[in-house]
Amino acid sequence: MIRRLVLIALICILIPCAAMAEGAKFGIVLPLSGPYAAMAQDMKNGAMLATDQVNQAGGVLGGQAELIVKDSQLKADIALRRVKEMVEEEHLTVIGGNLSGAISLVINEYACKNNLLYMSYCYNSLPVGKEFCGKGFTSAVIPYQNPDALATYAFKNLGKTWMSLSADYRGFHDMMASWMYNSDQLGGEFKGNIYHPLGTRDFSTYIPRILAESPDILVLNNYGADQIAAIKQFSQLGLTKKMKIVISKTHLHIAKECGKAYDANIYGGATYYWNMKAAGEENKKFVEAFTAKFGAPPSGDAEAAYVGTKAVWQAIAKNGAADNVDALIDALTSMTVQTPKGSEQFRACDHARQQSILVLRGRGDQSKDWDVFEVVQEVPWEETLQSCENNKNNLPYGNVPIPTK
Amino acid sequence: MIIKAEKLTKKFGGLVAVDQVDFTLAAGEFKSIIGPNGAGKTTLFNLIAGAEPVDGGRILFQGDEITNLPQERIARMGVVKTCQTSQFFPSLSVMQNLSVAAQPPSSWRSLWRGKGLAQKTLRQAKAVLKQVGLESAADCPAEALSHGERRYLDLGLALAANPKVLLLDEPTAGMSPAETRQAARLIKHLAQEFSLSVILVEHDMGVVMEVSDRVLVMNEGRIFAEGAPQEIRRNPDVQRIYLGKGRAAC
């Protein structure tokens, strides 16, 4: 307490105390150190860009929009410590951020217990089942939405028999359930699933089983360094020539890091691609501003953070105050937000962001610098987002039996 | 007989280090074991102390069998040994070393009664400190002691464990002649004062002659001769195996 008294006293002396700026604060926690540092940095850039744009346009509530960013080091206890410090020390009522689904669920639980507005930027199942408690939002999508979009495309154009290789991690189990469900709906023929431990670097041991089944489609349910290793090793082995590879959740950086291994036989699901022609004027402004400020085009994470932050400031401005959380939630769910992908809304009943899913295709050796994908299809949200009722009871994916071994 | 060993045997691979040895030690008796290097003195010594497993034969201590009991059980019963190379607790002070040894063995399990027991242990440790003449170095770490002082500390540790039978393995090794005589007198005095029975393995005939009630001569794993110190000194065979003029007629 003493430490802060000294701080405030100092600030008062430096700038005239009387015109103490009103303004508002929004605290986010991101794993800026650790294995996912690159993606977290992109999220931070997106959030900062949104905040700068708000401040250039006159700030919020007559003062500065202050974005507080803390490093969670991808550890849940540190993430919680940072959140508790922001809530108890700086009396924030609006928090956000986070990249790992697991940690965002933990912070969501904390937000429910302590009545805070929580805007998460990552794929997580906040709107689903027991997790939903009315305080949490996500500016990305629910894990099952990607496979929904990809399955409709894949089973129509790429073949019927499919097999999956999944990281043994909850987020990817949800995607697996979605694939199984859609496969039944669209007449796909499931040839079996292989679980690999999180952090696998050598995928050669799985190749014999895959070749034995030789499915039309190989679905990859993993992310980050695992996904990079799998793509590079499968393409080196010419697996990509024998079957199409469909990745439930991919990322701009992953494609960049894979280089020519990420070729035209590889498809991936994502929520945003900077070079998507359909988005039009709003997206061009966003991409130019982002590239000018950070030297590289925005990834899906950057866009999600940008939209999430922009929505928060817009809601605070519309609501006229940052402290009564319930009023803020109503504001957020009743307004439309101008996003790089067009104007969108957060659904009132389960706070899911109504946004489309992109089916992307690798460019392999034709990729120039950051232009690594080609948008094959944009599936509107109505086709992938389940109704509120279904989400509340985790239907239809809740009771889809997923392979245990 | 405080210690009685029958047909004690110990083999290291093919070599028979101790071959069917019978050995007795009376209460309060001071018995030395001498013999050329490799005669099996130290091995016999370690068998009795439980530091080495016995291959054949048995050992009785005050009538109970202690063959192949774990060394700490034998030590707890009162048969405590010192080591050829001084073994102690380097970074602990001399007093701390002695108070560890002075702690009653049965107390290892207890987490309470720290204070009361501590005073008793401390008194005993201080007494031993005086006996081995290390008062001046009481507070300095054991590793800072000179070679001679380390031998006394090793002896002190054994004494502090209030033994009934003291097994000494060349306690005066590496000491100057003056120090050796002084150490021999001290050991003899302590043995009498505490009515300890002692088994001493020693090379220095001077020490053996001065302190021992009886002397045992070992050669190639067997007892070669036994008797009063003067008898043994005059025995021609003993001189021969020591000076190596040729094989003793055996």
Partner: protein, 325 residues
């Protein structure tokens, strides 16, 4: 020196530590202060094995993590009260430490360290996938109900300050218990085992049994720390079982000074504050803390507390300075 022998760890040190640490929330953020207390208990437990008994273990995260998970599961599945759940977590960790020590007590030095590492990695990967149903796998154990206690005073444990005092109460309990253990007849034998186990055996003390007992008590402290982390966080992260937790508790303890009572606590305080400050100030905090740690190792080989104590003693100039190995 008489006094020091009779009572190696006087109550004065314990009260001094408590007085220094109690007002931490005034200077540091309350959540950080709570974590410092929790990791201090963990470091004290770890140091009972390493600093006092000379047992090197690369796997103490197993007991800490076990304490977390068992307490967490007791709260969530068995709906037990806070105190019984903490007790269960502490006992579980103590038993695990006892079992591992009994199994591997004959192994020395690096081999024992490697067995502990293997044991803790087994627990980590068991919690990651095979036991996913129970432990929540990668997400960790969630849905632990909001905790509150009535016993000494009605405290709502989700409020940071009350969580802090709840943890402080157990920290005081732990620090008095550690002093009692180290002063007890059993405790006094442990440094002797560290120095020369064979000699301890030849003086009539069962050194294996002593080492097992020391590891078991060390496990109890780590289990208590784990349980308190669960109560404070209201959640159990999988990282508590990761080998990096074993590494950092080892780093903190040795940084602080292995062979002193307050060493591990000083190490935890220095390390966590350093991590927190550099963490706020830059994303590349690992570069700073890693480099600084290497510098500290090179400059203060006896650890921060060890060196301070030595400087203080040198100023009091006894005849022969006490060398620490």
């Amino acid at each position: 020196m008489e006094e020091k022998l009779e009572n190696p760890y006087s109550l004065k040190i314990v009260w001094a530590i408590l007085l220094v640490l109690a007002p931490m929330p005034l200077v540091l953020s309350t959540p950080l202060a709570t974590e410092i207390l929790i990791y201090a208990i963990f470091a004290m437990g770890f140091n009972l094995a390493l600093g006092h008994t000379g047992i090197l273990s690369f796997g103490h995260a197993a007991y800490f993590g076990l304490g977390c998970y068992v307490t967490g599961m007791a709260l969530r599945y068995l709906e037990l009260g806070v105190f019984p759940a903490l007790l269960l977590g502490t006992l579980a960790a103590g038993l695990a430490a006892l079992a591992l020590a009994a199994l591997a007590v004959k192994r020395q030095g690096v081999y024992f360290a490697m067995i502990s590492l293997a044991f803790s990695q087994m627990l980590y990967f068991l919690a990651l996938s095979p036991l996913k149903g129970l432990t929540g796998g990668e997400d960790g154990l969630k849905f632990i109900p909001k905790l509150a206690i009535e016993f000494p005073a009605p405290l709502d444990l989700s409020k940071p300050l009350s969580a802090y005092f709840f943890t402080l109460f157990f920290f005081a309990l732990a620090i008095f218990a550690m002093r009692q253990v180290l002063n007890s007849p059993m405790g006094r034998l442990l440094p002797a085992i560290r120095e020369n186990e064979a000699r301890v055996k030849s003086l009539g003390f069962p050194s294996h049994a002593l080492k097992i007992m020391s590891m078991a008590i060390s496990g109890l402290f780590c289990g208590l720390a784990g349980g308190l982390l669960t109560v404070y966080l209201g959640y159990v992260p999988l990282s508590t079982l990761h080998w990096f937790t074993s590494g950092s508790i080892m780093m903190m303890t040795i940084l602080g000074g292995m062979q002193s009572f307050s060493g591990p606590i000083v190490g935890v305080l220095v390390f966590l504050c350093l991590q927190d400050v550099t963490g706020n100030f830059t994303e590349r905090w690992e570069l700073f803390s890693g480099t600084l740690f290497m510098a500290l190792i090179l400059l203060f080989p006896q650890g921060v507390a060890g060196t301070i104590r030595q400087r203080v003693r040198r100023r009091m100039a006894p005849a022969i300075p006490e060398q620490q190995t």
